[in-house]
């Protein structure tokens, strides 16, 4: 489960380095563009870590539920949130990977 999240962060890192390289090259031709790629990367990392956190919370809720320490509603909600977070994170990862591939195809 958490491999999906780490694959997302590594994909974001790759895209980050690649896009910042492009940004450096682009500034030679045009006036300094605002470093939007870095901010975007930060947001993506935040999303990924948020998803990881939600997944951990879901796991601990499930364990507590099995032990009888949490109510059924709490467990169900935590697991559903984890499911949603994971799905969203995977979708973002796929988009980032696709974007990275597109950028790498760009002729310099």
């Amino acid at each position: 489960m958490l491999e999906a999240i780490s694959s997302i962060t590594s994909a974001i890192d790759k895209a980050n380095t690649l896009s910042s390289t492009r940004a450096v090259q682009a500034t030679r031709l045009a006036p300094a563009a605002p470093s939007q790629s870095v901010d975007f990367g930060d947001i993506m990392v935040q999303v990924a870590s948020n998803a990881a956190q939600t997944l951990r919370a879901g796991e601990s809720a499930a364990i507590a539920g099995i032990q009888g320490k949490a109510s059924v509603q709490q467990v169900v909600e935590a697991v559903m949130s984890a499911e949603q977070a994971l799905q969203t994170a995977i979708a973002i990862r796929d988009k980032v990977v696709a974007a990275y591939q597109e950028i790498s195809r760009m002729a310099i």
Binding site: Q53, A57, S60, A70, S71, Q74, E77, Q87
Partner: protein, 128 residues
């Protein structure tokens, strides 16, 4: 992010309904206890306005919905249909009617949540 608000409201209503179910169960169990007065919970609209909307988990030990703070206050309903000689005010018919309400509302609540959960998953899944 409209979906997240919906899940929050549905969660609170589900919690409120569960507490109400416990209250009604208590009333019915005590239908023949002398001096027992039937109880009910405050209406959901009242409870909902009082509780603040808490954001999702802030530390990994947190289980999400904080049930303690959202516990609805109990009120003694004095408009029960009749009061018996023994001082018992539980009307089984009235309680069963309330139970029917709870059952319906809970069913609707879980169906809505299930539906929106699926929609959310489907929206992130499709397209590539």
């Amino acid at each position: 992010m409209g979906d997240i608000y919906l899940f929050d409201v549905a969660s609170r209503q589900a919690q409120w309904l569960a507490v109400r179910q416990a209250t009604i169960s208590s009333n019915i169990a005590n239908a023949n206890t002398p001096g027992f007065k039937a109880k009910d919970v405050e209406p959901f609209s009242k409870v909902f306005d009082q509780t603040q909307l808490t954001m999702a988990a802030t530390d990994k030990g947190h289980l999400g919905f904080d049930a303690v703070h959202a516990k609805p206050a109990k009120v003694k309903k004095t408009d029960s249909w009749d009061v018996m000689h023994s001082g018992n005010s539980v009307s089984v018919e009235q309680e069963m009617m309330k139970a029917g309400e709870i059952g319906r509302e809970y069913s609707l609540n879980t169906s809505i949540v299930k539906s929106f959960h699926r929609m959310l998953l489907a929206s992130t899944r499709s397209g590539q």
